[in-house]
């Protein structure tokens, strides 16, 4: 008698627990956003704004956890099993690698969202000490003997690869510029680099907090943020004569969201970046928004600089990565610390 009573009450309890957990499960969603290094402050605000919007629209709660690091490094982490619902990286190649090596999203991921899946763009500028004591005006000044330049490690950081390619593109544009002269230019540049951090934020820390270096080659948004947070009295931005158009893309990681059942929230999260609110937040954090109307409002905060694209100069990311950044590629041949 007591045994069957026990079994029945256990069954009822289990059923109730199941139903309540199901109910809660539908309501509380957790997402992991694996991002590149300089976007901490931006996604802090975006996540709060999106959570509020999600609650207003669906009544459920969504918590977004962040992971930050060099873009290449982050991509490899996702391939190795980090359960990212969305990836918001520095360059398309890193997300392509997540498809090619890890097969976690389809080949056509980039066409799923507008603007090549980049809700905002950015570029590369220089940060120097206040007063610009070394007189750094353009890329050519970076290779002067005695100049100490800070850039992250192209093997791990996305920003570092944009830096490298922008320098290469500059050298190609010079009179008599060929691949050989560009290689010599970039080699001289890296001779002036004493230390490579693994991500863009690490390099900013090295330059600003540790006081190492005369010039920091940085993301435009990182430079503007550093100026705002760390002191217009200590730093100055120098805009070079030309730079490269950087399109940091975003994507949903299909295998993970399908397994975790978070596709709806993840896709809404990425679409939020394209909404007016998301675009305003992007501009507020010094990213150049795709939305022309929003960009027009913030155009004064972005320096005017002539931009080239990776497709026109380098024939696309796959080619550039293979030639320059893969193991044994040009960067490995160029970077010989100590020589």
């Amino acid at each position: 008698m007591t045994r069957s009573l026990f079994l029945r009450s256990a069954l009822v309890l289990l059923f109730a627990a199941g139903v309540t957990s199901l109910a809660f499960g539908q309501q509380a969603v957790r997402l992991l956003n694996v991002s590149y290094d300089p976007t901490r402050e931006f996604y802090q605000e975006v996540n709060a704004a999106f959570a509020a919007k999600w609650k207003a629209e669906t009544g459920g709660t969504v918590t977004i956890n962040q992971s930050h690091g060099g873009s290449g490094k982050q991509a490899r982490s996702v391939i190795d099993g980090l359960q990212a619902d969305v990836v918001t990286l520095a360059l398309a190649y890193d997300i392509d690698a997540i498809h090619n090596v890890g097969n976690l999203l389809p080949k056509t991921w980039q066409s799923r969202l507008p603007g090549n899946s980049s809700p905002y763009t950015s570029t590369i500028v220089f940060v120097v000490r206040k007063g610009n004591p070394k007189g750094i005006k353009d890329w050519g000044d970076l290779v002067r003997p005695g100049i100490v330049a800070i850039t992250p490690n192209p093997k791990t950081s996305g920003g570092a690869r944009w830096n490298y390619l922008a320098a290469w593109a500059y050298a190609l544009e010079q009179p008599g510029g060929t691949d050989a002269s560009a290689r010599a230019f970039v080699t001289k540049l890296f001779r002036n680099v004493p230390v490579l951090d693994s991500g863009a934020r690490g390099s900013t820390t090295t330059f600003v907090q540790r006081g190492i270096g005369d010039v920091l080659i940085a993301w435009e948004n990182e430079a503007l943020l550093a100026m705002q947070m760390l002191g217009r009295d200590k730093l100055e931005i120098v805009v070079p004569s030309m730079s490269i158009l950087a399109e940091p893309p975003v994507a949903v990681v299909d295998k993970v969201v399908d397994r975790r059942g978070t596709r709806k929230a993840a896709e809404a999260y990425l679409r939020f970046l394209y909404s007016d609110e998301g675009q305003h937040l992007a501009a507020k954090h010094y990213f150049r928004p795709r939305n022309e109307a929003v960009l027009a409002k913030y155009v004064h905060q972005f320096p005017k600089v002539r931009l080239v694209t990776i497709d026109t100069v380098f024939g696309g990311w796959a080619k550039a990565q293979k030639i320059h950044f893969d193991d044994g590629g040009l960067f490995d041949q160029i970077y010989q610390p100590g020589r």
């Binding site: 004493p194 540790r210 190492i212 193991d327």
Partner: protein, 277 residues
Amino acid sequence: MMTPFRRRNVLPGFLPSLGLTLVYLTLLVLIPLGALILKTTEMTWGQFWETVTTARALATYKLSLGAAFGAALTNAVFGLIVAWVLVRYSFPGKRVVDGLVDLPFAMPTAVAGIALTSIYASSGWVGQHLEPLGVKVAFTPLGILVALTFIGLPFVVRTVEPVLQDIEAELEEASASLGAGRWQTFRRVILPMILPALLTGFTLAFARAIGEYGSVVFISGNQPMRTEITTLLIMTKLEQYDYTGATAIATVMLTLSLGLLFLINLLHGWARRSAAA
């Protein structure tokens, strides 16, 4: 009567405890180290040699081993003095000092690193006074030495203290009554007795300093060829997903450390034998 076939141990359960020890050691030590070496064998000998003998790698070995040795030596000298003071004297605040000696054990190494960096940077409390004298501590090998000395301090103090405490006063009195001066008494009576413990403390401090990462990585500046330690080079290679390169360098460090520890063990045995003599 004939001796029994199997001698009974006072403590039972020899075979099970032996078995448990072997399993434990194997799982925690042998298998990971074996996997490390196995991963390295994915490279050919030529590639291995090339990876571990680049100028950059050689600079890191010199720095890591040199700084660890220097720090352990500093700790041996000053740790002995601290242990001496703590054992032989009593003064107000002795308990506090005693507790402070254990601080480097208890502190997370990253906290230690940040604390040291902020003190010794050119805008820090100590750094701002040293800078005009031309002494730069943060972001130089000197800073690495400071960090390694800091984290190695408790090892020597804690290994020497009990031995010092056990030394009977009669020995020193006998030595004095035979006409030895204070320095002679120290050198010929006390030092041989504490030398094994001192060497043990030195070894522990050295071993910890070789592998130290958290506290050094903040204060060193991490510049290849100048202030890059081997553990950082291994981390950098891992971040670049060059697993075989990382394990290759790790294997070299492992071999070097084992060799040095073996040497120190020999020294230890010799010291103990000459103390007993």
